[in-house]
């Protein structure tokens, strides 16, 4: 399966990405994940201010009659949600690394970044799954 992996992003084994800028992480799902999920019909908007723990449940997403979980790459507080997904959840399919971002998180523990994969490690991990 051909997938796009962007340099400069961090990745999880559950196929989420995080783009870190200062103390904020913008979070979404990877090209691998969106291809496996298929046509996304709904992203459940999480409450702003919710506290997240690294690798624990962030929110739910629906595609092709399946309700799946998205996990948070990093601990912190939800600072923003991409409300464009309310009307256009397909942005996650069309533009998973940019317009299809899901939340922004105020990072509570920057040392957790070491638990994430860089682009090279994630490319290798995803290739090993096929």
């Amino acid at each position: 399966m051909d997938i796009t992996v962007l340099d400069g992003y961090y990745y999880t084994k559950e196929h989420e990405w995080a783009r870190i800028e200062g103390t904020t992480a913008t979070v979404g799902i990877t090209d691998y994940a969106q291809q496996k999920l298929g046509d996304i019909t709904y992203v459940d908007p999480p409450a702003i201010g919710n506290e997240l723990k690294q690798f624990e449940f962030l929110t739910g997403i629906e595609s092709v009659k399946a309700a799946s979980d998205i996990y948070s790459p990093i601990s912190g507080k939800i600072a923003a949600y991409n409300s464009a997904l309310d009307e256009n959840p397909e942005l996650v399919n069309k533009s998973c690394y940019t317009d299809g971002w899901i939340v922004q998180v105020e990072i509570s523990d920057p040392s957790e970044i070491k638990n994430l994969m860089d682009a090279a490690a994630y490319r290798s991990y995803a290739a090993g799954l096929e």
């Binding site: 196929h15 691998y32 994940a33 291809q35 496996k36 999920l37 298929g38 046509d39 019909t41 709904y42 459940d44 908007p45 999480p46 409450a47 919710n50 449940f57 962030l58 929110t59 739910g60 629906e62 595609s63 092709v64 009659k65 399946a66 309700a67 799946s68 979980d69 090993g128 799954l129 096929e130």
Partner: protein
Amino acid sequence: MQPLRARFVPYRCASGFENMAADEYLISCYQRYRVPVLRIYGWDPPSISLGRYQKAACLHVDACRSDSVNIVRRVTGGGAIFHFSEVTYSLAVGERDLGKGAVSIKDSFGILNGFIIEAYHMLGLDASYAKDSAVRGAAAGSSQPFCFAGNEEFDILIRGKKIGGNAQRRTEGVIFQHGSIPLTIDADRIMRYFRGTIDFDNFTCLEELLSRKVPPYDVIKVLPKAFSAVMKYECHEKDFSPSEKKDITFIMKNRYRADSWMKDRRGYAHEERQAGLAQ
């Protein structure tokens, strides 16, 4: 080589709330023992199940209430179903049971719905996937508030009409799927409970296809056989123990009978933590 083992929870009728709690319990059961679980059940009283993120606005809620039709929210995606005269199955397996890596949603429906197709074959019916059907395959890919009226690639068609419906929940490497096998369709009641136009020519039921009354037992007896034949698991019957029934009752009271679960979905993660039911 020893055949792979799966647990089979035998047929029983229960309320929609209990059925959904028992289905959710299967997920934790798989997480604990790593053994696939197949369950077959019926609905008493009749109920309507909504998809996990579906709005109840598609229903005439007052009409449901006046007829004592319970409305429950599933843990799975997809559209609403009126569970009246049907046999329902549920299944929890691991992603690793289906393949090496992450199995796509479509592929997993393709694999898991295979045993339902085999069950229809055992009943003497020529069932196939919508994507393979000359009649409706080209139109596959539409969803509807009323599940049976939708049409996805891996929906099952017989004589060009959709039969039943299937939906999934994915969590922590577990694939949970449940689905309906309709014995009859009560168009009058469906029109009474669902808003909007439903094209009844698009879907069918066993009674129409077999031109006879079909008792639930006819389906109940073929489902475990079809599962074993297609999925290559040996089914070992084991009903819920008293301790498991306690767990199911807990889930039922705290989630499926809770107003917070029934209301249209928003801020789910927060509610789930509040209920202490996070998986």
